[in-house]
């Protein structure tokens, strides 16, 4: 039983340490904080960014936003 648990731990350890951690110089702590939210259940962040983007686009373009939606709808 202990061997099996140890093997499982070892496998997981190898998996995690397989790739060197990503660093971005002085911005590493901010990068880690941002990425943490995207690794598991990223949808709240993705929808939030998209919502802000779409509303921002509406504030800039006004009703012309419907033109972009129409173009995309013909895009398939």
């Amino acid at each position: 039983m202990r061997d099996a648990t140890y093997q499982k731990f070892l496998h997981r350890w190898e998996q995690v340490t397989d790739l060197p951690p990503q660093t971005v110089g002085p911005f590493t702590p901010y990068y880690k904080r941002a990425v943490k939210r995207l690794k598991v259940m990223p949808w709240p962040v993705l929808v939030g960014i998209s919502l802000i983007g779409a509303i921002g686009l509406y504030m800039v373009l006004g009703s012309t936003i419907t033109l972009i939606a129409s173009l995309l709808q013909r895009g398939f």
Partner: protein, 207 residues
């Protein structure tokens, strides 16, 4: 393992991975690239074929077998060529930048990035039938446009995350080199997109 066994195992892994890339993309990608089972792509291919069949009906607007078959073949060939081209380009540029990994890993990783693409194209095709464009500038039209843009952008970000994870785990590249691959790919993708548009295959690139 025989073909039926491999297909069954691939099918189970495909379902697990689809759920995984929705809720735990990072961990799932590490696992699926390490396993690099090309059998899983068979199921993805089946879903793509289903979409191309639907899109052929919507685009052709006529139940003529010849036209429908031609449209299906054009869409499938266009998407297939795009997939192989994208994998080839990622592989060549990634290797030149010192990437380590297997081609099968990149193929499986990039294959799963087609899931958001497929969801967007499928939803857009259905919406084209249910709420055909153009959108009006009244309140309902604007609200729909905003919701549709949020939906499209969300899937685009998801796609970007999966593409990043393909390069991260498939070629073991760091963020800087992934950015270089992306920058190198932009002009190629731009030319490809214009080509697909002029050929009338995809207006939005099926990447």
């Amino acid at each position: 393992m025989d073909i039926a066994g491999s297909l069954l195992t691939g099918g189970i892994a495909f379902v697990q991975n689809i759920v995984g890339i929705v809720f735990r993309p990072y961990e799932t990608y590490r696992r699926l690239v390490a396993r690099r089972s090309l059998w899983e792509l068979v199921y993805l291919g089946a879903f793509l074929a289903g979409y191309f069949a639907l899109a052929s009906v919507v685009k052709t607007s006529a139940f003529r077998p010849f036209l429908l078959t031609r449209q299906f073949v054009v869409l499938a060939a266009g998407a297939g060529a795009t997939y192989l081209g994208a994998v080839g380009m990622i592989w060549v540029i990634g290797k030149k930048l010192g990437g380590k990994g297997t081609l099968a890993g990149v193929m499986v990783g990039w294959g799963y990035t087609l899931v958001p693409t497929l969801v967007w194209f499928f939803a857009t095709s259905l919406l084209y039938v249910v709420l055909p464009p153009p959108r009006t500038t009244i309140a309902a039209g604007i609200v729909f446009s905003i919701v549709y843009l949020i939906f499209s952008a969300t899937l685009f970000w998801w796609k970007l995350i999966l593409a990043y994870l393909t390069l991260r785990f498939g070629l073991r590249l760091d963020l800087q080199r992934i950015a270089i691959v992306a920058l190198a790919a932009v002009p190629v993708v731009a030319v490809y997109s214009v080509g697909m548009y002029w050929l009338g295959i995809f207006r939005v690139p099926f990447l």
